[in-house]
Amino acid sequence: MSRTAILLAAAAPRGRSLWDDARARLLGNRAAVAGLFVLALLFLAAVFGPALTPWRFDAVNKNDVWADPLTHGHILGADSLGRDLLARTLMGLRVSLAVGVVATFVSLVIGIAWGTTAGYVGGRVDEAMMRIVDVLFSLPFVFFVILLMVAFGSSIVLMFLAIGAVEWLTMARIVRGQTRALKSREFVEAARAAGLTAHQIVLRHIVPNLLGPVVVYVTLTIPGVILAESFLSFLGLGVRPPMASLGSLIANGAQDMELAPWLLIDPALIMAATLMSFNFIGDGLRDALDPKDR
């Protein structure tokens, strides 16, 4: 018996998993690879950059007001209070990326819980839960987020929750559709036959198999969240000064653009680079993981 097993193992060709295939396809996509590279640089800059700049992001320097780029020791120049633009942009990038990742995580947790429940239980429950999603979908959510920020003051935690609570709807729809498809597959039936509870089946057999579409949607949600945060900051409802996010930097830069256009252009470029990288990676992942387009 053990001999046959060894023989079989030796004879079997080493299988290529779905993920091996997907990785190969993703690395063959030039736009996605460029996006990954740029995004890695941006993340490194956001994590380590603020500690490495000679200036603090909130240090006011009276002598450096409107300093041009490359003067007074400011590589990217300084703003109306003489604060170093490079330090502020790095800090803003850190805040924007953090909001993007955390709020997306919030939406991920809600969306997966909602979607798997609706999809797995099915029937009336499914119908009621998805009807709620439909109704919420047709609400003018921006206005509620604005009201929320106005009502309870702009705190970063509230922003995480508010944006995350808005973004979970699409996630729930995707997850529900996948769950319904997975539910009738043999391995779920086998698990049920083995006596696993619904809870165990969902957590151990369905959620891991949702990973593909969820990962794709996550990479497309993060830029959406970054946009939403920046939108709020641009309206003056996001992060509070002297804290910076890319949106608040762009808002300030837009006010001073006649005097110092780089205050607008530099953060705008960083923002565009961030959003484009995420979008390229998301598109690349979708092509890599979606077997239909092969």
């Binding site: 109704v135 609400l139 009502a151 939108f231 923002m271």
Partner: protein, 307 residues
């Protein structure tokens, strides 16, 4: 068709009710009241003003009265603009937003469809890549970046167009705001049309049309295009929501006297009735457009009508 309309209205009304309820309690949960401004009123007077507007009664009673008023079409008086009802405030400013939004929608529709067709007909050639690059940029570069950058370029530097202001809707004043609003929608619409056209150009009915010897232009416009437009029509509702959000930015950057400019200010000033009025108008608008797009899709696509 009537059944569809009835069914959709049946779900739209509860949605609207939900919107009103959520906005009402959210607004009242905010600290402060409309009468706390820079000039502090003596507490006795503040209490009397509050009582005059009925704000001293239990919240649930106020909510009931408000619902009853709204059901009668009365949105109440503005609490900040003297002697104006919410209806007046909305009427004065809605026109500007409407002109902006409609122009942007038309520009985005025409440009997006044209670009999408062009890209699909030249799939994987340089024109296609160019259109798709513009589309990616349009999605990735947000309104609040394009607006100031275009002002910097066309107004401040080149001085071709005015940098802000409404000027009774004069064309030069409209160009920049409409372009900024339309850009992200052009990006999305051209992507949708391109994908739809590529699919329908490959399908059998287009092959049949070609085989009959119809001229190219007729094959593309009469046979291939209509099915490719269905996703665009479905996108009408989200597009409207996008234009509304965009108008919050655009009206601020270009100092236009539209609704969007007032929303944030009114919310900050706790002008309860004006904020509620705007939320209701916006929600009704989005619901109406969603319904309209469903009806158009049902008219265009026989498969939807049957189910």
């Amino acid at each position: 068709m009537l059944g569809l309309i009835a069914r959709r209205l049946f779900t739209a009304l509860p949605t609207l009710f939900l919107v009103i309820t959520a906005a009402f309690f959210l607004m009242r949960a905010a600290p402060g009241n409309p009468f706390q401004g820079e000039r502090q009123l003596p507490p006795e007077i503040e209490a009397r003003v509050m009582a005059k507007y009925g704000f001293d009664r239990p919240l649930i009673v106020q909510y009931g009265t408000y619902l009853a008023d709204v059901a009668h079409g009365d949105l109440g008086p503005s609490l900040k603009y003297k002697d104006k009802s919410v209806g007046d405030v909305l009427k004065e400013n809605f026109g500007v937003s409407l002109v902006l939004g409609l122009s942007a929608l038309i520009v985005a529709g025409v440009t997006g469809i044209a670009l999408g067709i062009a890209a699909a007909l030249r799939q994987n050639r340089s024109a296609d890549y160019l259109v798709m690059a513009v589309a990616v940029a349009g999605v990735c570069i947000p309104t609040f970046v394009t607006a100031p950058l275009l002002v910097l370029l066309f107004a401040s530097t080149l001085q071709w167009l005015p940098n802000a202001g409404w000027n009774n809707g004069a064309l030069p004043n409209l160009i920049l705001p409409v372009a900024v609003l339309a850009l992200p929608q052009i990006a999305i619409i051209s992507r949708l049309v391109r994908a739809g056209m590529i699919e329908s150009l490959r399908s059998n009915f287009v092959r049949t049309a070609r085989a009959k010897g119809l001229p190219d232009c007729r094959v593309v416009l009469r046979h291939a295009l209509p099915p490719a437009l269905i996703p665009v029509v479905t996108y009408l509702g989200p597009a409207c929501a996008g234009l509304l959000t965009g108008s919050l930015i655009v009206e601020r950057v270009f100092a236009l006297p539209g609704l969007g400019k007032f929303f944030v200010i009114s919310a900050l000033q706790r002008d309860y009735t004006v904020v509620m009025g705007m939320v209701i108008v916006y929600a009704a608008l989005i619901l109406a457009l969603n319904l309209l797009s469903d009806l158009i899709v049902a008219a265009l696509d026989p498969r939807v009508r049957l189910s």
